[in-house]
């Protein structure tokens, strides 16, 4: 792990202007993310975490300030990152197989080479046997896994995940968290993970960034020095986890109390 900043956010402001309202989503955000970091953004709903993610991906532009990715300003869509959205974005008209190989098609990887990679990726996320199924035939958790596979397959330099496990039940979430960590342990891809679940943030990441309610500012940044590899199923029972949780929750709780739901 080098000490280079992969992503630099400086003095970032984001306004949303519409016919009836002006909304300041993010205010004065300053952030550094290094190569191989697993960073979590936590904060109440509407605090701009997703917006920040969008801007790192280049889907939206800041109103003031800038974002640098590996030294270059992000002025257009950032194709060097992978983006896993909150809501299902896998294509309902494609099979699991076809969905997973989407990126390879776009990057024009020759057909012969695709098959093997796709097969490996599908087994990595545990969907063997469902290659020819359509999303409408899959459960929510399985669709999430397809989304994961689809993004990981082209080995993006960094991964942006927007509440990827939000809509799933606790057991499934733990399983997928475990898989995510397994993958991260192997690849050490820089990850930015947005979640409203503080426990999840602490369990997975090595740095937690707490945002205030709207307008979103960074309230607190905390290194998570729990050693790896981590066992997501048991980590919540460790003392270290508990202590960190208490500490950060204190900060987070104030924001939640300000009227935004968690």
């Amino acid at each position: 792990m080098t000490d280079e900043n992969v992503i630099e956010v400086r003095n970032l402001y984001k306004w949303f202007i519409s016919k009836n309202s002006d909304v300041l989503a993010l205010e004065s955000v300053n952030l550094d993310i290094q190569e191989g970091d697993f960073v979590s953004f936590v904060g109440p709903s509407g605090c701009g975490k997703s917006t920040l993610l969008n801007m790192i991906a280049g889907l939206q532009m800041p109103t003031a300030g800038f974002i640098r990715y590996k030294g270059e300003d992000v002025r257009e869509v950032n194709t060097r990152v992978g983006y896993i959205t909150q809501h299902d974005s896998i294509f309902p008209w494609r099979t699991v197989e076809a969905n997973v190989q989407l990126a390879l098609e776009i990057k024009q990887v020759p057909k012969a080479k695709r098959a093997e990679t796709v097969k490996n990726m599908i087994s990595l996320v545990g969907l063997e046997g469902f290659e020819k199924s359509y999303p409408s035939q899959l459960s929510g958790g399985m669709r999430k896994r397809v989304g994961l596979a689809r993004t990981l397959i082209y080995k993006p330099e960094a991964l942006l995940l927007d509440e990827p496990f939000g809509a799933l039940d606790a057991q499934l979430t733990l399983t997928l968290q475990d898989e995510l960590l397994r993958i991260w342990d192997k690849t050490h891809t820089t990850m930015i993970f947005v979640t409203h679940d503080l426990g999840e943030a602490i369990a997975l990441s090595n740095k937690v960034v707490v945002f205030t309610g709207r307008p979103g500012k960074i309230k607190l940044t905390r290194e998570i020095d729990i050693p790896r590899p981590r066992d997501v199923f048991r980590i919540r029972f460790s003392a270290k986890f508990g202590a960190l949780y208490e500490e950060i929750w204190g900060s987070l709780k104030e924001e939640v109390g300000k009227g935004e739901e968690l």
């Binding site: 306004w15 300041l24 109103t63």
Partner: protein, 275 residues
Amino acid sequence: MDNQNFDPLDPGRLRQEFRRQIKFHRNLVIFLRIGVGISLLGLWELVSRYLIDPFWISRPMHIITRLWDWYVTGFFFPHLGATMLEIGVGFFIGLALAIMASLLLGTRKELAQVLDPFMMAIWSVPGIVLGPLFILYFGIGFTAKIVLVAVTVFFLIFFNTFNGIREVDQEWIDVLHIMGAKQRSIFIKVILPASALWIFSSFKNAIPYSLVAAVVGELIASQRGIGYLIQDASGVMDTTGVFAALFNLMLVGLFLNEVVEQAEKRILHWRTSRQ
């Protein structure tokens, strides 16, 4: 953002910019609309002068002249009246019959079930195809067209309402039964309001279709009406006349659409407060 006077906490400048963009866009659209209209007419005019004989495609100037002629001499209005009469009378007759029939049949569940496939079969035949039959029966006067419109409207409204009433939640009716309500009050409290909704929503479709039915009837055989004007002009290869009549037809169509939309707004206004 590289000028330093910009205070990132003040949205004022951004708002100004936003407003400016909206205004610009709006004006651009208006400009384009007018531009497109003028260019198309101009192009038409040019093509008809130098490329294609106006026999085939007429010419804006000719059409405008013809329209002017029609309006000023009053030639057009009896024909407009004829078509509107056919639509109006036919629509109301069809509506009345549809309401009666659906209330009568919709409540008798067994009768409805028995008649179901027949309804489907009749539904598959579009009323307008019966045009020649009605003209055979009633001649080429108003009656045939009125019947044609009435039949078209009837099937549209009846079919929708009939099915709608049948689907009125049996639960509601059962609940009322348990409460001791008599058949009559069930009818008034549940069936009538439900059917009113269905009837109105099929209105929206029925009105454009009545125009189609009236015009088709006139195209097949008539002596009056906008459809007659189209057919008559076509018979003597008078392209200008055809376009002029089509233009008027377009106006009538737009007018009817507007009427429906306005009516819907009124009724919906009542509905949203109810919901």
